[in-house]
């Protein structure tokens, strides 16, 4: 990679051991992916739940925070993805203390490095959405695909070590979706059906992710009607990223780089897939069933204030026989409290949890501790993930999930 004078100084250790470790890692990745140079970034966002880090990752993070006399700090605003718990709700989840201790140690290390513990995967709704053309280093696939596609920003998937490195150096290797050529459509999909509910948007996104198939594919989709809102695009993108590892999509007439199909180069592509309602229903049916449930979860991505408002309305006058967990960000939770949404959900027997996400919270261990196997959710991303954790996940609308929490059965 071509390095600037400042980057060479970092690599030589002239700016400290921590930036040196960070840029060495970035050059390894950049070389692997044939990046020519670095691009400056304005923000970084780190996925770092301790289930992923384990003891090894936490020790590495602690040792990094102690380097350079404990004075190393991130150079650009650097924020965090959800943590593995809500410390106010650990008794509900029954997480082992040893996991909570890993969480505390991780938070301490990040704070030493100047990282802001925002603990959210919806930072584009709650912290600061990036603008078109802005280069950022975001972790969490849902954050990346939304920022690239809806905001027109530029990010690759940046795993925890790489996002932290970007925060520490203020730059990231210039490859993938930082390059104009990589942002052109590679697969053209037409649909004659526009989803209504969030679970339908998620299922359509998941199906497109499956069809597109890999990180370097960029689907362009024609035929959607109207202007889907932010929560719809959140579920659509998160599921597409989850099922297909996709980081950028274009919706003709909707997303900023495809006002016309010609804008993203899609007019030269043959229509490779035509999707109808039946195709989306077929994907959703893989996570269907008329069945008893053990737990209802709304998470992945964290809920917006509007989703909590809707959920609070659905909880009115009900008494749950099964646990209902709703997970949101620490930025949204205080407003949910102020507007009475939290009280309405919890009066019915639910729990509103802050700063965490279900699948990043030792999902296997809490399933065993609580006897949870059959899980109902409106998140297509979540049903895709939880099969590997031993759950039987079921996909349904928010309305049906709330009813299932009351009756103990998904009808």
């Amino acid at each position: 990679m071509k390095l600037t004078e400042e980057e060479r100084a970092m690599l030589a250790g002239a700016l400290g051991k921590v930036p040196q470790i960070a840029i060495e890692h970035q050059i390894q990745v950049g070389d692997f992916l044939h990046a020519e140079d670095f691009v400056p970034v304005t923000q970084a966002h780190i996925m770092a739940d301790t289930e992923s880090l384990g003891e090894e990752g936490v020790r590495w993070l602690e040792s990094l925070a102690l380097e350079d006399g404990g004075n190393a700090r991130v150079r650009v605003p650097t924020i965090t993805d959800p943590r593995g718990t809500d410390f106010a709700k650990t008794s509900v989840l029954k997480q082992p203390e040893r996991f909570l201790e890993l969480e505390r140690r991780t938070i301490t290390a990040f704070r030493k490095l100047g990282v802001s513990m925002t603990d959210t995967c919806i930072n584009y709704q709650t912290i600061q959405a990036p603008t078109r053309g802005e280069s950022v280093a975001f972790g969490d696939t849902g954050v990346v695909i939304y920022s690239n596609s809806i905001c027109g920003a530029r990010s690759n998937y940046e795993g925890g070590p790489s996002a932290l490195s970007a925060g520490l150096t203020g730059r990231t290797p210039r490859y993938g979706f930082h390059l104009d050529a990589q942002r052109r459509a590679t697969i053209r999909i037409r649909t004659d059906w526009t989803p209504k509910s969030l679970n339908e948007w998620g299922a359509l996104g998941g199906l497109i992710g499956q069809l597109a198939g890999n990180y370097w594919a960029v689907p362009v989709v024609e035929g959607l009607e109207g202007s889907p809102g932010s929560d719809a695009m959140k579920h659509f993108g998160a599921a597409m990223a989850s099922f297909g590892s996709i980081a950028l999509f274009h919706l003709v007439g909707i997303t900023p780089e495809a006002v016309r199909i010609e804008d993203c180069g899609g007019e030269h592509l043959p229509v490779s897939h035509r999707i109808g309602e039946a195709d989306v229903r077929a994907l959703a049916a893989q996570y269907g069933g008329d069945s008893d449930i053990d737990v209802v979860v709304f998470s992945a991505p964290q809920l917006s204030l509007y989703e909590l408002r809707t959920l609070a309305g659905l909880c009115e006058g009900r008494k749950f026989s099964k646990p209902l967990l709703a997970m949101t960000s620490p930025q949204v939770k205080p407003d949910s409290d102020r507007f009475g949404y939290t009280e309405r959900i919890e009066s019915a027997g639910g729990h509103v949890m802050s700063g965490m996400c279900f699948y990043q919270s030792y999902a296997r261990e809490i399933a065993e501790a609580n006897g949870w196997k059959k899980l109902a959710t409106n998140s297509t991303k979540l049903v895709n993930i939880l099969g590997g954790y031993g759950y039987k996940p079921m996909l349904a609308s928010m309305e049906r999930c709330v009813e299932a929490a009351e009756k103990g059965r998904l009808a």
Partner: protein, 133 residues
């Protein structure tokens, strides 16, 4: 001896037994990382141990967690010997760099059709070469 050349390589040279499937890979979605097996019921390698094997798969799937997880798996010795993919997302590149894991990616022909399951394979990341022994 058949040689296949990849576009991307990282890590140290290794030799071992190939475990092959035309399916995806995500450390979070697909693995029981404690037991060292594929745990996603619908994965083509469901129930099989990946420990010490050279995994030859189609592509990487899902999220960013693998960037941390490969190092954590390596620290316990419950990890594949190497990873080989037709296409790879940056997360596996980052994870391989962070965890010192050998990996090749990017082949002109489907690598999962070129390498027989159970065959003995040599990986040389410096020359981005996979050799069938």
């Amino acid at each position: 001896m058949k040689e296949l050349i990849a576009r991307h390589g990282i890590g140290k040279p290794v030799t071992g037994e190939a475990l092959v499937a035309h399916d995806g890979f995500s450390a979070r979605y697909d693995l029981d990382r404690i037991g060292g097996t594929f745990s996603r019921p619908t994965h083509k390698l469901a129930g099989q141990s990946y420990v010490g094997k050279i995994l030859v798969l189609d592509t990487t799937k899902g999220g960013v967690a693998s960037a941390w997880m490969l190092r954590e798996m390596a620290s316990r010795g419950i990890i594949p010997l190497a990873l080989v993919f037709n296409t790879v997302n940056p997360i596996l590149a980052q994870g391989a760099a962070f965890g010192n894991v050998t990996m090749l990616a990017g082949f002109d022909d489907d690598i999962t059709a070129q390498v027989p399951n159970g065959s003995r394979v040599e990986i040389d990341p410096a020359t981005r070469t996979l050799r069938l022994l």
